[in-house]
Amino acid sequence: MTDEKKINIVLAGQGNSGKSVVFNYLTGLHQHIGNWAGKTIEKREGTLYYKGYTIDVLDLPGIYSLTTWSVEEVISREYIIHHHPDFVINIVDSTNLERNLIFTLQLLELECPVVMALNMIDLAKKKGITIDFKKLQGIIHAPVIPVVASQGSGLTRIIDKVIDLKGEKADHRIHRYGKEIESCIRQLSEILQGIDLPYPVRWIAIKLLEKDNDVTKLVSEKRTGVIDKVRQLNGYLEEIHGHDSSVVIADERSHLASQITREIVKITPDRKLSLNEKLDAITTQKFTGYLVMVLILGGMFLTVFSFGNWLSGVFDTIFKGWHNLWNFNVGDSFLASLGWAAIEGVLALVQIAFPYILPFYIILYLLEDWGYIARISFLMDKLMHKMGIHGKGCISFIIGFGCNVPGCISCRIMESKRERFITAVLVTLVPCSAVSVIIFGLVGKYVGLLWALSLYLFAVAVIFIAGKISSKLLLGEPVELIMPMPDYKTPHLKTIAYQTWDALKEFIFIAAPIVIVSGVVIQAINLAGWMPAISDFLSPVTVTWLGLPAITGILLIFGILRKELILVMLAAFLGTTNFSDALTPQQMITLAVVSMFYIPCVATISVLWKEYGWKKAMAICVMEILFAILLAGVAKRILDLIF
């Protein structure tokens, strides 16, 4: 009986149509994130209890609204086809109706029950757009409900509709294409009739004509004869239309969407330039655009770092006595020390997650929800192309400045494997907040602020050159930027809060195990008394080549856990935080250069491992170790001439 009271719904729609807002409204706190098996794209699941029904809701997002549409189409279709949800709620941005309708038409072809939520009616009104949704309902043979997701209005009507329609046979009369295409679809459908396939026949016929790889492969495995017929029909279509048949159907779909739009939309244009237009002009124009970008990003980092320094100071005072407390109560035996190392790992995560990552994510998601992040990609695309990736990669770099871990995770927004990997490698070279602690705490404080800032410029140069090299080494066509430019919108704070929380949780789950385990292992090595041997072993590099004190060998090993440990442990070894007593300026700069590049921290390594496999993760580590040693050695020799 419980089954009758259970409904599965999936939210599908283009990026920025309001899926996340709808999802958060419907499911509130009853939600969690899962991963697609084998896919790097996450899904969100949540549950809604309504009028005695248990309604499972699934959001199919990319991590950012910037993921290209092709990805969303494939994911939606995969999910819908394999999991047979009871309803697909198609969220449509009514201010971009025509483009959104193309996706709707694709959804309808899947012949699943669709309910359309015509979202952002408030914004449409402001733009002078009126939509005859009753007429649209008649055209697509599916219910259309106007909603304003950000105010929650209309959303319960969707659910009421779903409950209403449950169990009823959906109307699968769908749109028709031109005569020739329909005749091809009919011919194919006839041959396909007898074959046992888990999809709607008409959809398969369309996908075959569109030369969809997956579908073609599937059908040819069942019956090879069909493919010959497909080839013949494709040839026929190409002859008539003059281009590839895969494009012929997409073209028609697009024209159909534009025709429908003309039938149902009335626009009374406002002569006045809207606030959105003005903001868009200022933030994307040739000169003001870059100026605003520098101000916004600068402000972001300043806010994050000053808040971070303050809060981590607070944590420092809170955690200060804990080690002694532990030693006093548990003792300082071998095991007790290992236990403390584990606790220290947890504390360290807290020290990074809340002071730095949390505010960073809040601001980032705020900018994203507002619509600004897409502008950065637009402005930076040209420069990014010189590194073999496109404008969206810049977003991962920005995130990487806060912490490399989410920076590497965010590379999922890149479309091709090649670009995703290049971006991730470059992100590991971005000085994260822990490295910034070293740069400012050592070089900034004791050598000069100008030197510290030059190190950042140096990092940018290194990233740029590394990008150039890796884009040459990794063969493949660079992907061009194709990105919808969203309007500026009032940020929706609840959604931002959920997104921030999710991201923070993801960071902790990925980073925690490896940080704790490796902390314990390194402590064990330390307690076993092997550290001097290790620093001796490393001394040809650290002392002879880099001209640093022998203890740096140990520091660099601890630094793999968290980069700022290099500084913390240095102070511990020296027994003072006045580093100028022990190190010359050139040693400080050399140490900073090594710290910046020598290896990603363990948490970052674990992300690389998870996303690209252990071979690539190890390759990156080895390359960066060699590179940093070489670079810092050369730097030392140049610095010796300067100082």
Partner: protein, 81 residues
């Protein structure tokens, strides 16, 4: 001569200028992806603005704003009056 129709790449349009898409010179994957976004032959496209040093182009097509990389935009052939 104002009535004569010119064919150029999208990148050749001035900011604010409109053209009708004639064809897309690219592989079928690219052409299909663009069609999925409403960029097909016969559709009107308006260049809003671009960035410094021949960067990407911001366009309005099918009632929506899109950003297209420069190399890509130059492959979209448009007809202007």
């Amino acid at each position: 001569m104002n009535n004569k129709k010119n064919r150029t790449g999208l990148t050749e349009l001035e900011d604010g200028q409109t053209g009708i898409i004639v064809s897309v010179l690219g592989g079928k994957t690219l052409t299909k992806r663009l069609a999925d976004l409403g960029i097909t032959s016969g559709t009107e496209v308006k260049v809003i603005r671009r960035t410094l040093f021949s960067g990407p182009v911001q366009v309005e097509v099918a009632g929506s704003r899109l950003v297209l990389g420069n190399g890509l935009a130059s492959k979209i052939v448009v007809e202007t009056k």
